[in-house]
Structure formats: structure tokens, C-alpha cells
Symmetry: C2
Subunit: 318 residues, 2 copies
Amino acid sequence: MKYSIGVDMGGTNTDMGLVSENGNIVLRRNIPTNAYTELEPYVRDMMREIKGMVEEQAARDGEAVDLEGIGIGAPNGNFYTGCVDNAPNLTIKGVLDFGKEIHKYLPVPVVLSNDANAAAYGEYVYGGAKGMKHFIMFTLGTGVGSGIVVDGKLVHGSTGGAGELGHNILVPHGRKCSCGREGCLETYTSARGIVQTYCELKASDECGVLSDELKSVTSKMIGELAHQGDPIALKTWETVADQLGMAMANSVTFSAPEAIFLMGGPTQVGEPLLKPLRKAFEKYLLNIYAGSCQIRMSELKANEVAILGAAALIKMKN
Amino acid sequence: MKYSIGVDMGGTNTDMGLVSENGNIVLRRNIPTNAYTELEPYVRDMMREIKGMVEEQAARDGEAVDLEGIGIGAPNGNFYTGCVDNAPNLTIKGVLDFGKEIHKYLPVPVVLSNDANAAAYGEYVYGGAKGMKHFIMFTLGTGVGSGIVVDGKLVHGSTGGAGELGHNILVPHGRKCSCGREGCLETYTSARGIVQTYCELKASDECGVLSDELKSVTSKMIGELAHQGDPIALKTWETVADQLGMAMANSVTFSAPEAIFLMGGPTQVGEPLLKPLRKAFEKYLLNIYAGSCQIRMSELKANEVAILGAAALIKMKN
């Protein structure tokens, strides 16, 4: 039977899965990324786990696994070169040529991209974007990522680094961003940006005095508070919705997608974000696009999307 | 010999040209768009001129013209439907099905798109973007338009209306735009936006009193003043450069193009705009794109780009 491997390379852990043709993760393994400082032993151990999964599945199926390839979602992953380029969050430094290293063990296609691109492609191959030719995925989490599909193809651009809408400047001379610039979407709609907005609203409500408990607040807690009817939490999500809605409307002027998908922790709050988001999106959308672009939640499970997205990348070779 | 027809449909005039394979406009004709209120007589007269050019060129060449097709750049032109959809600036109202009407006279391919998309494609087929796979064209004029090429294909999106970066919201709750929203790029970097910036700077310099002569100022005059060293004119172009540079940097986060092309009246000012623009673009560009995207001026002549762009559209069929 036909399978592909999806590898989700994070700074802490590397999750791997054997994925069936219909998008089921039939086996999973992981190794600790941050236990390695060199690519060779890291790939050696990764391949040991991958071979382990392939053999286990062959025994289950009673026939050899037809492995279509290995897809890798990684920070700073470059589709064109197949390399991870100097990712600041990894303990393995430098330009990492995965294809070359993996081919020492297994002669299968290797495709690599950044995690948000992989998530978008996973939605396309296995999720709610099946059959769509134009869509955009926004991933909200520690940062804000995006993946863009135009004419049924993931947009990589001339450098391989296209689709960084989290670093679209939303507010000229706005909040300081970790990228060194100001006003990026990420500073407003990432988990950290959402917490900052809540603290700012809370502080102005409490005459500028921030209580100690505010220092440990998370976007998840702000979500729970909103569901309990807390006015400052509700106001926080409305503010985030307004900012995200504007950014989403701006992205429509680029590629006129038929849908924008959302995924990631902060989107799990549901209606306190989604209700004002639909309103804001409509308000900021240029009239020629009215009614042409849906807002959709990712249809992949949160704990599967990274592996499925990585595994989906291999479908681009076909 | 092989030729194509480019039709530049403006609100006032319709310019037509017979274009040779290497991008020379060998014959030109025009009819007054605003003399028509119905599509039938308009296309009848358009086709009379087109047939006239074809016959004239056949006589010159001493052989029949091999006509590849007719490309039309038009306001609200929709690539997918081949129709002009309710363009507010045209005296011919409604949904105009050009393909159907033209095929009554000539059985050749007809391709239609909006004018900025056509300009971008003209640059790709006949101008400075030859051989590029990823680039963006910004057209500055009465409004601000754009055309986007990804993987060697013009981006039309799901509706046919992709590439409206002039209506990307640059400044949240900024200047009122003719589209009914606020803060669109167009309100800052169109000819009118540039004049507004100049008047605002002049007024604040003159304690809020706007002299009568300011009411008739044009972006061309502000360009001349800048070349004479006028400090307010220079400040105007610096302000415009900062705004356009930010918008251009934002567009790079989408498709990571290898170049951004500029065309249109206000860009003719040259260094007073381009020098601060290069600086602003570099300042606002996300570091992963540093050095990867050039700023280029259109290499097509201002009085030829619309016809060449329209004629180039026909190449998409091949």
C-alpha cells in the first residue's frame, strides 16, 4: 500500500507520522530536536524511526510499504533548495541539506517547506480546501504564519520564502516586532499580541496599574474569560478581530481567494473571535469581492495538521 | 506574418494597435468610447478599424495577416468571463460580452483583463520582466492599480479580480477612498493623493491658509517643483516614497517577487521619488527578503504600454 511520511520539525521536538493515501496518520514517532547540534546524527535517528514505522506497517499490511516520499515542515524551510536556512530556534545551526542526508538512507523524494506553507498544503490535500484553486491559510500561534495557494499551487515566490503575511505591516509605526520592524500583523494577532492587547485594555480600565496576576495571563485564559462574559476579554477579541479582519481583507486584494482558512490556538476561542471577525472582514473588504470569499476554520485536527501538512508536500512532486 | 491586436478601452477613447511578434505597434487607430451607449455599434465600429488595420498591413507585407487574437484592457475587465462588468466610468452600461460580439465579425481568440493586469503582462511579454517568474507591477495614475505574476502566470484569483493592491488598506482609518473605505494605498500614492499630501504640507507651512493657486496644482507640477529644489515638493515625494515603499514591502511578504515594476505619470518624476523610495523599501522589507527584490521602472513607452499590454494578453492562450 501507498504511504508518505510527514515530519514536523520543531525547535523542541520532531514529530513524524506515516500517512495513508486518504490522510490517516497510521503510526507516529518522535525524537527531541534540541538533543542534537549536528545534522548527521539527527537525520540518522530520524531515519531509524522512519524505517521502524515502515517495517511495522509492512508487517501489519502483510505487504511492503510503497513509500511515496518524505515531506518536512520546518522553520526557515526552503522549498527550492530543500534546506533549512539558519533557523534561529534550532540547536542544529547552519544550512541543513536534508535531501542529501536522507538519501544516504533511502532513495525517496524529499520535499521541504516552512510549517505554515505545509499547513496550507495539508488543508488542500486532506482538509477543507480540497478542490479549491485559490485560498489563503493564516496560522495563529506564538507567531502568525500564512500559506497561499494560487491556481492550485503553493506560492513559494522567487526566494522560496513567500507567504509571510504575519509580517505584513498592519499599523504604520505600530508595535515593535521580533523581526526588528514595527506594526507587523503578528504583533497584534499572535498569542502574545492578544495578551498584550488584553493587558493594555485592562491597564487603561484600572488606571494604568497592572496587577501581578496579569503577568501570567495567556490567550487561552482570555478565551475562557470571554466565554464567561468578561467585558475586557470580549473587547480584546473584538480588537483582534478588527485587526485580523483588515489583514484578511487586504490579502484578498492580492489573490482574490475563494476562502481564507484559520488555524492555531487563539482561533479555538470560537465565536468571541469569529463573530466580530466576520463583521470586520465584511467591513474592510473591497466591494468587488463582496460575497466571494468565505472565512473557514481548518478541518484538520490540531495535533495532526503539522504531520499531515508535511506529508502533503510530497504530493507537489506528482 | 503573425500579429495580434491590442485594444485599450478607456472611458473617453478606445485606442487600438496592430502589434508584431516582436512587440512593435505597426498601426494604430482609435474611436471615441463615450460616443456610444450600446455595445453592438461600439464593437461594429471597433471591428471596422481592426479590419482596416489588418487589410492595410496585408497590403504592406504582400501577404495575408495571421491574426493571433484580440486582447482588450478595460476597466472592470474580467478575464474569466471575457466581459466588462458594470464599469462606472463607461457610457456603455451593463455586462458587456466582448467575445460574443466580436465573434460575429472575426473568429479569433479574444482575451480581456483590467488595464493594470494588462500592463503587467505587457511588461512580461515585451518589456523588462521578460523571463521573470515572479514580479509585481504598480501603476500610479488617477488611481493606483497592480498586476501580479506568480510562477509566470498573471494572478486572476477565484473571481478574476485579483491584483487590486491600490485598495490595500495602508493606514487604518486613514484618508477617505472613492471605494467607500478608508486608508487605501490609492488615497496616498495616486496623482490626487500626492496633490493632497502637497497641499496638506503647504497648508501646515502657511498656517492653514491655502492660496488659490494651490487649487490647480498637479502631481506633474509638484515633480517640477522638486527638481527646482522646492522643500515642500521634496518633502511630498519623500512622504509618498515612504508610503509606497511600505506597500511594496508588504506585497513582497505575499509572493516574494524578484522585482517590483513601477509605471504611470507620477513615477516620471524620477529621483525625487525613487531615491527615498529605495531607502523606504529597504527599511520596511522583512530581513529574509533583503537584496532579493529589485525596484524597476517599466521599460515600455508610456504611450504604448496600454496597447502592448492588451496585445500581450493573447499570449496567455498559448
